[in-house]
């Protein structure tokens, strides 16, 4: 099954390569990986989606902790996290079809971000399933180009990403 793993890492050159190298050499297949800044300067946050089982997911977290630049890691899979993807879809839209497409955009709560003579760029955020359905609906109109981010995820409630792994193992 899919595991959604969050990592807080030091924002230093080569960190992405270390994470990618770890996944490669331990034989894990990354389905998506996103990285960006956090509320804390110098710290980046990664959302990594891997297709693997519970035991292997635990192993990958243990390996990630061995990396000096990795600060915190958490598997959000069993915490029903908020997971979002973003896609931009450039679709053929002449005068005849434009209104029709815009109606679909409204149904899916997407947004038109660029309008040209023959095309529209539509931005949509949501779960992977929602974006997949939207793409399917648009396909008959002619998708010229599409770009999708991987998933970003956050646990629900007031708790921030916690480091249960380390806290459990520190002497009380």
């Amino acid at each position: 099954m899919q595991h959604t793993i969050i990592a807080l890492v030091e924002d230093k050159p080569g960190v992405l390569s270390r994470i990618a190298s770890l996944f490669r050499r331990r034989g894990f297949n990354i389905e998506s990986l996103t990285v960006g800044h956090t509320e804390q300067p110098g710290i980046s946050r990664m959302t990594i989606v891997v297709g693997t089982n519970e035991v292997e997911a635990e192993r990958v977290i243990a390996y990630m902790y061995k990396l000096v630049n990795v600060i915190q890691v958490e598997d959000l899979t069993n915490m029903t996290p908020m997971v979002r993807n973003l896609a931009m879809i450039k679709v053929l839209a002449n005068d005849a079809k434009r209104t029709e497409i815009i109606q679909l955009v409204e149904i899916f709560r997407a947004r038109v971000v660029d309008v040209a003579q023959e095309s529209l760029i539509i931005e949509i955020t949501g779960t992977e399933d929602k974006i997949d359905s939207f793409v399917n609906v648009l396909r008959p109109y002619g998708i010229i180009e599409m770009v999708r981010t991987g998933a970003v995820a956050m646990s629900r409630g007031a708790m921030a990403l916690s480091n249960a792994y380390i806290q459990e193992n520190i002497a009380v």
Partner: protein, 566 residues
């Protein structure tokens, strides 16, 4: 005060208490080597950078301090790779410093440029590329800290030539190192102590598996106290040799593929395994799904990623072994396991006739006899270094090493060519020790060039070169599992006595058992490095043996009657 990057580097090394470095200069280390003589550090010029890494590795294993290797960019750096991987697999703290091309050349395929931080990513605990002089000092401090703390390991620092050359206003800063993602100080939870005590108290057939972690954590006394209080026998891994004296009544000896049959039998029969600083390598477990089927397992390890990696355990103590055992001891009550120990003695008795030492002298020279006799003539006090293969396993079996950090071998990576450079590194770590390197004719020829290093340094080591004319361990597998098809394993050798002589070293040759003593005595009395070539039986095997994929207790035993007598 204004200092160049090179000067800052050396000053940082001095501050880390480095007295010896092993290196080979080149274009990208010119500034670094140029500044060297201003500092009280001895530079050992190696003949190949692999040797530098092995020397630093053995230096670290023997001394417990960080070993340092230096190489130039490109081929210098790539030549370190085997040595770094060796240190990584056996958790040896080394810092490798490589020169790198000018920072503005990086990425342009400049002369002798290679992406060594990329290459060594999976075989270092951590690595750094330094392009700015001001980063040298903090990086060196971090590198030494990371190499030696937690589960030790190799760290590589790649420093561009311009960063070595540039001068900056600089003062040594010893403020605390801040590495938010690095937690070498994990400790077990107190709640686990009671649970562990309960498991230990209830066990009828407990067994301690002692690994290298016992020595790295300096938990020798704690191991002994624990074993004695709970009357628990101890089996050691290859790298755990020396964790407990061989004549201690609770020390059963080595486990694993070429361990003692009774040890493996005991593991398979145990109801509680206490793993102390060992990682259930495939060479000690045999077929994993048939490993210790009746035993509960408690794993003590400083590296959380080792827990449940190879073997699923019932309880884990993550942290420093010494500290964990100290905290656990007050929870333990004395126990007696005479029945269990008698059971193991029973296994032992049935193995004894298969020991080669029980054989009557038949006028032939056997490697096992050579090693046994050197053990005898060195009174078991030598600092022993081995290569990889039959010589390694026989030395583990027949050189009964009682001292910690005195059996130096490439366990995890199994690096042939390790012995000679490692013996040189070991000698620098403990100059007063009598160093003996046990090495086969195959492995010796891989790094033979380091004889010149020993000669140039004027150090004294002793080399027992076990020459059987084959790559012996591979030949053994071919004999047992590939219908004796000796493909690519017969190996010719130069005249090793002349090779030693050509280096200005003492070379001796032994072909009969009765010549061993005088040769060893002559080597011992010689002030410089001595090499003894032992021409041993060519097709002898190491027994007992667990064949790959077999259950641990199903060992192939030495035939009780010799082949040529049957």
């Amino acid at each position: 005060m204004k200092k160049t990057g090179a000067e800052i580097l050396w000053e940082c090394l001095v501050r880390e208490n480095v007295k010896t470095v092993f290196g080979f200069p080149g274009g990208s280390t010119l500034p670094l080597h140029d500044a060297m003589h201003k500092y009280p550090i001895h530079h050992v010029l190696v003949r190949h950078e692999q040797g530098a890494a092995h020397m630093a590795d053995a230096f670290a294993r023997v001394s417990g301090e960080v070993g340092v290797a230096i190489a130039t960019s490109g081929p210098g750096a790539t030549n370190l790779v085997t040595g770094i991987a060796t240190a990584m697999m056996d958790s040896s703290p080394i810092v490798c410093i490589t020169g790198q091309v000018h920072s503005h050349f990086i990425g342009y395929d400049a002369f002798q440029e290679t992406d060594v931080t990329g290459i060594t990513l999976p075989i270092t605990k951590h690595n750094y590329l330094v392009t700015d002089t001001k980063d040298i000092a903090p990086v060196v401090r971090e590198a030494f800290y990371i190499a030696r703390s937690g589960r030790p390991g190799p760290v590589l620092i790649d420093i561009t030539k311009d960063a070595q050359i540039a001068s900056i206003e600089w003062q040594y800063d010893d403020s605390p190192i801040e590495l938010p993602g690095y937690r070498p100080d994990l400790r077990p939870a107190y709640s686990d102590m009671e649970k562990a005590a309960e498991m230990i108290h209830e066990a009828k057939r407990p067994l301690i598996l002692a690994g290298a972690g016992v020595m790295k954590s300096e938990a020798l006394k704690e191991l002994r106290d624990f074993a004695e209080k709970t009357d628990t026998p101890i089996a050691v891994t290859l790298l755990g040799i020396g964790a407990i004296s061989t004549d201690h009544p609770l020390n059963l000896g080595m486990m694993g593929m070429h361990g003692y049959a009774w040890v493996n039998q005991a593991i398979q029969e145990a109801d509680l395994l206490l793993a102390f600083g060992m990682r259930f390598d495939d060479r000690v477990t045999g077929r994993i799904n048939a490993y210790a089927p009746t035993a509960q397992k408690i794993h003590f390890d400083i590296d959380p990623s080792e827990i449940n990696k190879n073997v699923k355990v019932d309880l884990a103590f993550i942290g420093d072994l010494k500290e964990s055992l100290q905290k656990l001891m007050p929870h333990l009550e004395p126990r007696h396991h005479s029945e269990w120990r008698q059971q193991i003695e029973g296994y032992k008795a049935s193995s004894v006739p298969q020991d080669i030492q029980q054989w009557p002298d038949d006028g032939k020279l056997y490697a096992a006899h050579v090693i046994n006799d050197i053990w005898k003539y060195t009174e078991g006090k030598a600092l022993v270094v081995t290569d990889v293969g039959q010589n390694q396993m026989l030395t583990a079996q027949y050189y009964r090493q009682d001292r910690p950090n005195s059996f130096i071998t490439s366990g995890g990576l199994g690096t042939m060519g390790f012995a000679l450079p490692a013996a040189i590194g070991a000698k620098f770590a403990r100059p007063e020790a009598e160093v003996w390197a046990f090495v086969g004719d195959g492995g010796f020829q891989m790094t033979q060039a380091e004889l010149a290093t020993a000669a140039q340094q004027g150090i004294k080591i002793n080399i027992a070169l076990i020459n059987n004319g084959y790559l012996g361990m591979v030949r053994q597998w071919q004999e047992l599992f590939y219908n004796s098809n000796y493909a690519a394993t017969p190996i010719t050798s130069p005249d090793f006595v002349k090779i030693a002589d050509a280096h200005g070293l003492l070379g001796l040759r032994v072909t009969k058992r009765e010549e061993i003593e005088s040769a060893v005595r002559t080597a011992q009395a010689h002030p410089g490095t001595a090499l003894i070539e032992f021409r041993v039986e060519s097709e002898e095997n190491v027994y007992p043996m667990v064949s790959a994929g077999s259950e641990l207790h199903k060992m192939i035993m030495r035939p009780t009657v010799k082949k040529d007598q049957s």
